[in-house]
């Protein structure tokens, strides 16, 4: 089994994104290190716009994740509503 991961700067802006990811991906595990939060997940990890919006109570443009995005691994599939990391082609 191979993991995908995504890491954000640990700050106020990325917290609702991290919470949304953890809520949407039951197998995801967040690892906190100084200034950084890295989320590992087997096979596939999804960031959903609607889930982030539910966390912050406002509209959210998924491109805003890039402000605090540090690194990621996996093939990306993204549109306006979701951002998916996986190893499928």
């Amino acid at each position: 089994m191979s993991n995908v991961f995504i890491a954000f700067q640990a700050n106020e802006e990325s917290r609702p994104i991290v919470d949304a990811i953890l809520a949407d991906n039951p197998e995801a595990r967040a690892v906190y290190s100084p200034g950084l939060v890295k989320i590992d997940c087997p096979h596939k990890l999804v960031v959903r716009r609607e889930s982030v919006e539910a966390q912050i109570g406002r509209s959210f443009d998924l491109q805003q994740i890039h402000i605090n995005l540090v690194t990621l691994s996996g093939n990306i599939d993204e549109d306006d509503d979701q951002f998916t990391l996986s190893w499928t082609h």
Partner: protein
């Protein structure tokens, strides 16, 4: 030779948030900036003197409202606005309006507006500056005399938003015509019999004393019926088919802001009404009474804006309003 060994060392914070926030979110866990900026900020004790003009109340006194809540912090803002998030959201919207103005300017869209449409827009929208200003005053009152930072902070933002709407209307008037249109709008507001019902209604809300009643009377009832009528039926439907699309661009902030802030307005009344049947009866009564009064006040305005179709548009706005009230548990 010395080698420098760089390591990262993790320093665990001793606590995740302030005690007064932890008490309200169920223990010591990371709190959002909204929670830290809002919860526990209301002064509650050690007031030395009572206001000389109203000695029956403390300086901050929940009993100024007939609505009773065990904890006023339950009236959270679903948008989670605190100063930073609110200013950033509004700055983004201001940039959007600014670029709309540039677009309209560069293509001289306002010069191409038929004169009759231009005069019609001024006649309908310039007096509304005064309604928006009353919205500023009313929300300042809620901020000053309401209880609980969750409610009063959001009311402060709402007050400034109303001022912004008034300024956008002013700017629209100045873009459309000479500064005299502002004066003409004020004269209509003060003298034209068709505006006097609305003016009386607005001035009646300005002398209300209960912050929650003001919230229902202005933020829910008046704005809830006015915005769909003006920015929906008039600007988007009526003007757009008569060559006035530019007006929709220059007022794009208003309907967008109304939809966004309606979520806060509804959340406040919904949560307050859900706490007890007394609150529910009280707030539902206000929503009904003020809703009916606004309908009467807007009838002549709908006529000015849309002519014979005005009453139909107003009835549609009322349906939207009733649906909101039902969702908030104010209507069966």
């Amino acid at each position: 030779m010395t080698t420098i060994d760089l390591q990262s060392r993790e320093i665990k914070p001793l606590r995740n948030t302030f005690d007064h926030v932890a008490r309200l979110i169920g223990g010591d866990k990371p709190a959002s900036r909204y929670q830290e900026a809002t919860l526990g900020a209301q002064p509650t004790a050690n007031f030395h003197y009572r206001p000389t003009w109203e000695p029956q109340y403390e300086l901050f006194d929940a009993s100024r409202s007939a609505v009773k809540l065990a904890d006023w912090y339950v009236l959270r803002d679903p948008r989670q606005y605190y100063y930073a998030t609110w200013t950033m959201a509004r700055a983004r919207q201001q940039e959007a309006v600014e670029s709309n103005y540039q677009f309209v300017d560069s293509r001289k869209l306002l010069a191409k507006l038929p004169d009759a449409v231009r005069a019609h827009v001024c006649a309908v929208m310039m007096p509304l500056r005064h309604v928006a200003w009353a919205g500023n005053m009313n929300n300042c009152f809620i901020a000053a005399y309401g209880y609980g930072t969750a409610l009063t902070a959001a009311a402060t933002f709402h007050a400034m938003d109303h001022l912004g709407v008034a300024q956008y209307l002013t700017r629209l008037g100045l873009a459309l015509d000479e500064p005299g249109v502002l004066e003409a709008g004020k004269n209509d507001w003060l003298g034209d019999p068709r505006w006097q019902v609305l003016r009386r209604h607005v001035e009646d809300t300005l002398v209300l004393k209960d912050p929650m009643e003001i919230h229902v009377a202005h933020n829910l009832a008046l704005d809830g019926l006015l915005y769909p009528l003006i920015y929906g039926s008039f600007v988007d439907d009526h003007l757009a088919t008569r060559g006035g699309t530019a007006i929709a661009m220059l007022t794009s902030f208003m309907p967008e802001w109304h939809d966004e802030s309606a979520r806060w307005v509804d959340a406040v009344v919904k949560v307050a009404a859900a706490e007890s049947s007394e609150n529910q009866a009280l707030i539902a009564g206000w929503a009904r009474t003020w809703g009916d009064r606004v309908m009467a006040a807007l009838a002549p305005v709908a006529e000015i804006a849309l002519g014979a179709e005005g009453q139909q548009a107003l009835a549609a706005a009322r349906e939207t309003y009733d649906a909101r009230c039902r969702k908030a548990g104010l209507l069966a």
